[in-house]
Symmetry: C2
Subunit: 565 residues, 2 copies
């Protein structure tokens, strides 16, 4: 018997009406706006109205440094959420909305997997309630206003060689990475080089994720720096009178989307998935809703603990004022083996046979990555729990090896089989998280807001990534000076680097030391509220493969979606 | 006292829950999917389930040749729908969804006006249920697949100089009209010239409007011709294996959106507004729903009767199998005066004073346009009713002049004040339409499907536009031959010309004769199901003005939208 596909499992789900899902969170139906029969938006008024309800425990799910395949962090987030109901606790799950570009590219969908999924997976993977499209519309309206401003005389004196705002689309389209626009005749704009990023990478998406209210969203949009004048002064969306319309386009998108898991656990889906040049976490307003529901709010942070969790602590929590009670660090046998440096995992190819053979030694050899990521969590005063996300190809001795490492560090640990078993496969994990979250909390930021940008970069690179030193390219250093001068110095930093290593170099597996961390460039997402130094080339517009999912997705004779996985 | 703004009036509306609006049409709540509290999508299953209900009268609203300001066709459509309830009849209204590009450009909204509006106007003008975004996503996915196919070896042998498929966005952005994409390095695609149209102009939008079912939508998407090989053979979306994913992206968008007027008349809003290179009518599936509801279905066709109504008869009705019972021809004093050739109306400028002065003579002098458009309706065997859309600046003598012209042609006629009075201002019109629609029906197409494309063009140009002759440019003639050879010859034609004249020349007002109608180029929307010859340059991507609505639209302190009008 073959294990059913995610889409097949998703189809068997018995879904509660959204009002019932909301009721299980104590949300009044008057604060729910239905979008189709299975999804509802939560009105932001619910946040204020529920402010006096008891606060749930706040648990972030992060991971060791993943392989290019990912280590099942969303699946574990969903599985953990489901598991709490098996131990008499009520959980809410918060995740980001998948991007349609990758859905039709290599992935074919991203909603958890197996028996730990958010359903209906077609809704989650396609359009959902249109938030991603609203971000596209708001972003590109601002882009049109910039070019129009230049065409109509450029009263603000925008330096056409110093425009930071590109355009966005939620599609994998490499042909749009670099374009020359404004061609044609005199009435067709001013020719200049520009390009498109995928919508998830838009600063508008980061604004949506970090806004604490509609008024805060409006203010952040106004602060977006789109360009500089010849004198080097920033030009904002407010200067261009575009921020009001952008806020209008986003006012529904700011309402979190309420869905459910296969086991009817409530799930708040909100904001996009981009974790390279942005902070890669679901939205603050979703967490504001979830933190006043049930016993536990389980929220997911992107990539490994050096990336998503560090930004969760230092960017998201700094903005929201919420403090976490525990952090789950997802680990897999395959990733730890890869961190031994003895195996290579390539996206789109089957795992090498020697990686699949029973070999606890390799797990031990790669365990330094797990140790460092657990430390990274502890560095913020948060209790770590190691979740061993089990695969059918794992061996008991290998799980035992991970347990030993975790226990030796004094961290709680649990083997999880939620992919094949749903919530009951993560009961041990839920119990461990429940204990960890009940310990006294000692949460603190890694750096103070009033440190300089350079100090912040150095602190993250040395204390979290394990670098000996930081080398900032002269042009980047000059830009950092400019940012301090423009008053952006108090912003947190979001370092854009590979997620495949603790360092800047994807080839350095395990827990590298003795390296100098390079900053090649630096940019400011002033509206979202962070500065992002770049430690390498960041791809912000994916392409399609030679056999993309788009070729397999279709409607069957009954009008049902096939080919999403 | 100043007359309140459209947005202010819209805010005063007492809205029925969508289920109650549906119930008034006899639609079972199980066939309604709520999108927020005020809009629902109608499941297409409702069409089959309601097939044995009595058929409503089918009334199309068209107009004389408009000025650049428009003559209130949507407002009249809404007002007429509202008026029927004042004479004991129940009507459903069908209109197209406004495009957000113009909403943030010059217009600031398009939902009817005054006391004849579709509400909530913010929902209608912004995103609605995301159909426009779904068209954008499906269109651009196909574009990405085309370029990816070329990058990955071009197995289908696409001629890169003969790619018909551009990209689309729902924004007024002249800088995107002409671009070079695929720049950068080897991994960033293949450089080539292309560009963006506004989403409403997408062939995918025309497919959505003309599809008769989900299966038919899927089939039409597959037939879209995106390019030609070096040998001149068409390459389709099916050849590129993209049509299945496109259909998946559009499956919710194919469900019509149910809204209501200020007087709670049900309104089906569906498909986009583009009427230049497309047929410019609301969707067939919306009319399939509306035709089995109440006593009358009032549907709007774009521009004057030479454009939207001709295509309504010969493209839309040919596809749907529905036959109209009456046609309303909207006329205004200002437009008829402009057709005298003695006044000039310019968009964005106040009307000239001499046009506003009482002058029934000028109305008579421009009346030939009304006569011709009434004839154009009659040419299809349909009963015309002239609706005089009254403005506060009109004089009774001028209304009388229009009445005389209509009566002299044996057409019913009514003065309407629905803008200031709502439905009761259009009671006389509703009574006239009710009578006209009850007359024996003699509907027929202007040309048979098996006429050649050239014959079809000639028939429309001479019999509808009033041309003496047609001159087809040699390159266009050659393309027409190719279309016949590829089997596209049985498609109807949708002539792309100015909407500001019965002829190809916007300066020729009234009812010009003695001209030769030029065809400069010709293209095929094979998926949508028509060939469109071009009688001039068609702008398919608008730009922003120097003071666009985007600068005025914002949120007020209560989070309410301001600045839409």
């Amino acid at each position: 018997m073959t294990f059913p596909s995610d889409l097949e499992i998703s189809r068997t789900a018995r879904l509660l009406p959204p009002d019932d899902v909301g009721a299980s969170m104590g949300i009044d139906p008057e604060h729910l706006e239905p979008y189709g029969r299975t999804v509802a938006k939560v009105d932001l008024e619910a946040i204020e109205r529920r402010a006096d309800r008891p606060r749930a425990k706040y648990v972030v799910v992060t991971a060791i440094t993943p392989t290019p395949l990912g280590e099942g962090k969303t699946t574990t987030t969903v599985g953990l959420g489901q598991a709490f109901s098996h131990i008499g606790r009520q959980a809410t799950v918060a995740i980001r909305q998948p991007s349609m570009g990758p859905t039709f590219g290599i992935k074919g969908g991203a909603a958890g997997g197996g028996y730990s999924q958010v359903v209906p997976m077609e809704s989650l993977n396609l359009h959902l309630t249109g938030d991603m499209h609203a971000v596209t519309a708001a972003h590109n309206l601002l882009a049109a206003v910039i070019d129009n401003h230049i065409d109509k005389g450029n009263a603000l004196g925008i330096d056409q060689h110093n425009i930071a705002w590109r355009r966005v689309l939620d599609v994998n389209d490499r042909s749009l990475r670099n374009i020359v626009g404004g061609l044609g005749g005199k009435a067709d704009g001013t020719p200049r080089e520009t390009g498109f990023d995928i919508t998830a990478a838009s600063e508008v998406m980061a604004v949506l994720a970090l806004a604490t209210s509609l008024a805060d969203l409006r203010a952040r949009l106004g602060r977006i720096v789109v360009a500089y004048t010849a004198a080097g002064e920033p030009v904002t969306a407010e200067d261009l009178k575009a921020a009001g319309s952008m806020a209008v386009l986003l006012k529904e998108a700011l309402k979190p989307n309420l869905m459910q898991t296969l086991e009817q656990t409530p799930v708040l889906v909100h904001a996009g998935p981009f974790g390279n040049i942005a902070h890669g976490n679901s939205s603050i307003v979703a967490d504001y809703v979830g933190i006043r529901s049930g016993d536990v709010l389980v929220t997911e942070a992107g990539f490994g603990a050096d990336m998503g969790a560090e930004r969760f602590f230092n960017i998201k929590c700094r903005n929201s004022g919420l403090t976490p009670d525990a952090a789950v660090v997802v680990a897999t046998v395959r990733a730890l083996k890869a961190h031994s440096g003895r195996h290579k995992v390539v996206a789109g190819k089957p795992l090498p046979e020697d990686l699949l053979a029973e070999n606890p030694e390799d797990v031990h050899a790669g365990a330094e990555n797990l140790r460092r990521q657990v430390q990274n969590v502890r560095r913020h005063g948060v209790s770590p729990v190691v979740a061993i996300n089990a695969f059918p190809t794992d061996h008991a001795s290998e799980h035992k090896a991970i347990r030993e490492v975790a226990e030796e560090m004094g961290a709680r640990v649990a083997v999880c089989t939620h992919f094949t078993e749903g919530g009951k496969g993560a009961i041990e994990l839920a119990e461990a998280v429940d204990e960890a979250a009940s310990e006294p909390n000692d949460f603190g930021f890694l750096y103070p807001s009033d440190a300089t940008l350079t100090e912040k970069i150095r602190t993250i690179a040395t204390e979290i990534y394990g670098a000996d030193d930081v080398e900032i390219a002269p042009a980047a250093a000059k830009k950092l000076e400019g940012f301090e001068r423009h008053g952006f110095g108090n912003l947190p930093v979001c370092i854009a680097k590979t997620h495949l290593s603790l360092s800047h170099d994807p080839k350095l597996v395990g827990a590298p030391t003795g390296f100098t961390f390079p900053i090649r460039d630096v940019r400011a997402s002033v509206g979202a509220g962070f500065v992002y130094p770049l430690a390498g080339e960041m791809r912000t517009m994916p392409g399609l493969s030679s056999a993309p999912a788009v070729e397999r997705v279709d409607l069957d004779e009954d009008g049902q979606v096939v080919g999403l996985s």
